[in-house]
């Protein structure tokens, strides 16, 4: 084989690889969208007969702990804890863990909620960093608030301490800046109540972007499309991911991630499988590990997914914060996938091993790498005269029309199901963002995914800094604490 033949052979081989990969990806996403459509339709029909209020005063309802890890959140922590108290549920407590903040997070909490140190004996079922003290609120309204002050150990460590402190049946882990819908706990608890022969070990819900939304008394008072273009494009990304991707994966029993911003878990199963691991993507890692644990114990289980928007969070609105987040997500994904490589195409782990894990490996981890290699390959071919400009253009048009079609499909799902963007022109604004997304968000996202891969290869396991801009609060809205103070 001479040099030309070798080049031709490699070129032929790479052509087939890239094209097959692209078609596989497109068909996978299309398939997932169809499955999620079916699942959404069933869920909506089913949900139309549900009266969640029956759980509220039922003695048969399980107890729930809401776990809030906090690190350097002094500016927002009091508002955030207050917003948790807008949820509708009876048998619950709130455990806030100050993870050795270097700012006044703990002092703010102490002052606002009149915290007092108590003689709390912690059962160290999961090993954690040292706890400095456990505090309870003296205010009657917050009598079920527990604040733990501990040495810094990272988010996973803070959550593990909270799990040790909790004595409830279920726990809901949320981010300190998450804004919960009032019925979030009720909706997440329900799948656990529907357990039949398969134990429900976790339930996830849809996380939405709260940028530009109006917040009143810890609740979303007005849903708005973000003014910031980067945040607006992330609305589309979240809609695709939560409404189409995760819904379908839950239906196929292959869901391997529940967002760290909000997820509910069976406490006993999490403790038995060792709690949160000290990784970057601790949310995904936990789901994979508890699933693995149940499979290895040969216990029947399932992970449920609630497509209702249950939690609102702030999305990064500047490129550097967005980049740090995306690099961290990439590192987290790689870490989880490599730590649990045993699952890859292993029938022992059911749909997770045969579908969920391979999909994440092929289309979440490898996709950015394949895309960059594809672009480099196309450039080389073009400059060596082996590729026409027309072919490049139609390939680009092919990818672009698919991306636009897929996002429009997601917008349609949102409109037909939960219809949260009600203002005139909202859908149009989102669609314009969809037109621009492949030119703006996608290249940025791709760049930081590659950066994440490089950082991982270099051994970077840091969480990085996440700067929050804070939410827009409606003027004149008073918090519960302010109302209490006024009463006095």
């Amino acid at each position: 084989m001479n040099y030309d033949e070798l080049i031709r052979f490699i070129s032929y081989f790479l052509d087939k690889v890239f094209i097959s990969y692209a078609f596989l990806l497109i068909f996978s996403y299309t398939g997932l969208s169809i499955v999620s459509g079916i699942a959404l339709n069933y869920y909506l029909k089913k949900n139309s007969f549900v009266d969640y209020s029956v759980i509220l005063d039922s003695p048969l309802a399980p107890s729930v702990s809401v776990l809030v890890p906090a690190f350097n959140e002094a500016k927002t922590i009091v508002d955030n804890v207050e917003s948790i108290y807008t949820i509708h549920y009876n048998n619950f407590d709130v455990i806030v863990v100050n993870d050795g903040s270097s700012d006044d997070t703990f002092e703010e909490l102490q002052k606002a909620f009149k915290l007092e140190r108590v003689n709390f004996a912690i059962n160290h079922e999961i090993e954690t960093k040292e706890v400095r003290g456990v505090y309870k609120s003296q205010l009657e309204t917050y009598s079920n608030l527990i604040v733990v002050d501990k040495e810094n150990g990272g988010k996973a460590d803070a959550l593990n301490v909270a799990i040790n402190v909790s004595d409830k049946d279920l726990f809901m882990a949320i981010d300190a800046d998450s804004i919960l819908e009032p019925d979030a706990v009720l909706k997440l608890v329900k799948p656990f109540l529907e357990r039949t022969d398969r134990r429900v070990i976790a339930a996830g819900g849809v996380v939405r972007i709260a940028n530009s939304c109006v917040i009143e008394n810890g609740r979303i008072a007005e849903v708005c499309v973000p003014k910031n273009l980067l945040a607006r494009m992330q609305v589309l990304e979240y809609t695709r991911s939560f409404l189409m991707g995760r819904m379908a994966w839950a239906k196929l029993d292959g869901l391997i991630i529940i967002s760290g911003a909000m997820g509910m878990f069976d406490r006993d199963v999490v403790v038995q499988s060792g709690g949160y691991a000290h990784t970057i993507g601790e949310d995904m890692e936990l789901v994979v590990r508890i699933r693995r644990y149940m499979s290895e114990q040969r216990e029947k289980y399932k992970i449920e997914y609630v497509p209702d928007p249950l939690c609102w969070t702030e999305a990064p609105s500047d490129v550097s914060t967005f980049g740090r987040q995306r690099s961290r997500w990439t590192r987290g994904t790689i870490e989880t996938l490599t730590d649990h490589s045993k699952i890859f195409f292993s029938p022992r782990y059911g749909a997770m091993g045969m579908l969920g894990y391979p999909f994440w490996f092929l289309f979440e981890w490898l996709a950015p790498l394949v895309e960059v290699l594809g672009i480099i390959y196309a450039i080389v071919l073009y400059f060596t005269g082996n590729l026409s400009l027309n072919f490049i253009l139609i390939t680009f048009l092919f990818v672009y029309t698919f991306a636009l079609f897929f996002t429009t499909w997601a917008i349609l799902y949102e409109e037909l199901t939960f219809h949260r963007y009600e203002k005139k022109g909202d859908v149009f604004r989102l669609w314009i963002a969809a037109l621009l997304e492949p030119f703006i968000l996608h290249p940025i996202s791709l760049f930081f995914s590659i950066k994440g891969n490089i950082q991982y290869a270099r051994g970077n396991r840091n969480w990085g800094k996440m700067e929050r801009k804070g939410f827009k609060h409606k003027q004149g809205s008073k918090s519960k604490l302010q109302l209490l103070a006024n009463k006095k």
């Binding site: 007969f49 309802a61 108590v118 409109e415």
Partner: protein, 399 residues
Amino acid sequence: MLLLDQYIILFDFQELVSSTLALLIAVFDFLSNLIGRLQAVINYVFESLPYNALNRLIVYMILIFFVSLIILLPTILISKLYLAYQKTRYNQIHVKYSQIIIDYLIGNKGVHDINDRDKLKSSRFHRNVMIDVLMAIDKAENKAVSDRIRALYLDLKLNQESIRKLDKFSWNKKIFGIRELSHMRVKSENQKIISFQQKNNDVLRIESQMGLIKLLPYVPFAFLDSQEKPFTVWEQINVFDLIRKNRIEIPEFHLWLEHWNDSVVMFCLDMIRILKQKQAAPKVLELIYHDNDYVKGKVIKTLIDLESYEAISKLKEIYYLEELPNQLNILRSIGQLKMESEINFLEDKLKSNEFKIRMEACKSIAKIGETGVARLNALSVNADEELKGIINHVLDPRI
């Protein structure tokens, strides 16, 4: 004048027909032109690319995505408008019918004075809104009002609409039928509703159970006899809610304690416990050696909530044979009965290496009262660090 009106209408109609035709021709022309140009673009693309299957596939897929986009965009718009229209229409008719029914109920109108009967006969949408209105107003819990509403429902022959729903293919339509018939106490279709209990669709199954509880007020829990599928906690919560909110004959739940379906047994144990059916205690005690640990856990809780002091010796007897969750249940139960005589048994458990057992035993000792607290204080002097911490925790009134 009338003639003039007719002329105007005729004139407008002719104008409309001719302008519509012209519009259709223009649209047709535009579309053929567009298709022609599209065909030209595709031909150009095919000519400029090497002829192979891949290129053709890519171009056709672009076309598919593009056409899908063109379909999706107006679909979003139309669905948005349609949903808004349906909502407005529903609300308008709802308000109108609510007023009619309120007039009927406060005596201004008789059954035969209800207008809109023609509309109700011809429009399914109107019939369904009327059913919704009747069911919403009937939530007043007033027997006389309820009877009048039921009479009106039957008089307007809305029951036929509800019965028709039971035969629909779609399971959610069937549920609407069950809800309406059970709400209006129409018993003619009971057999059909009973048959839904064996369906695989869990929502349909739950609704048929709830419907039967309402329709058979003297034997509301007959469905438990044939309960083959697991009776989930969600179903139990709904059934319990129905018991609380309606005038339903509450049965002796110990009748199902020997049921082969463990989930039914657990539900009955919960009901015995919550409804304080103390006469069931001996039957409950018989289940103390049940194979299923979850059932056993419920048995322990039930016995103690029924204040069955005689069960304590049995519980102590099985303590060492049980897994941790039930050991904790036993310790918790003894604490609940505040029996000073059991203080030594509880104190013995403080020697355990298991944190949870020590904690539960301490809590139970503290619940006994002054004697218990004094014993804990005394124990704290020579206790190891963990036990000291637990005792401090238990004795801290702020926790």
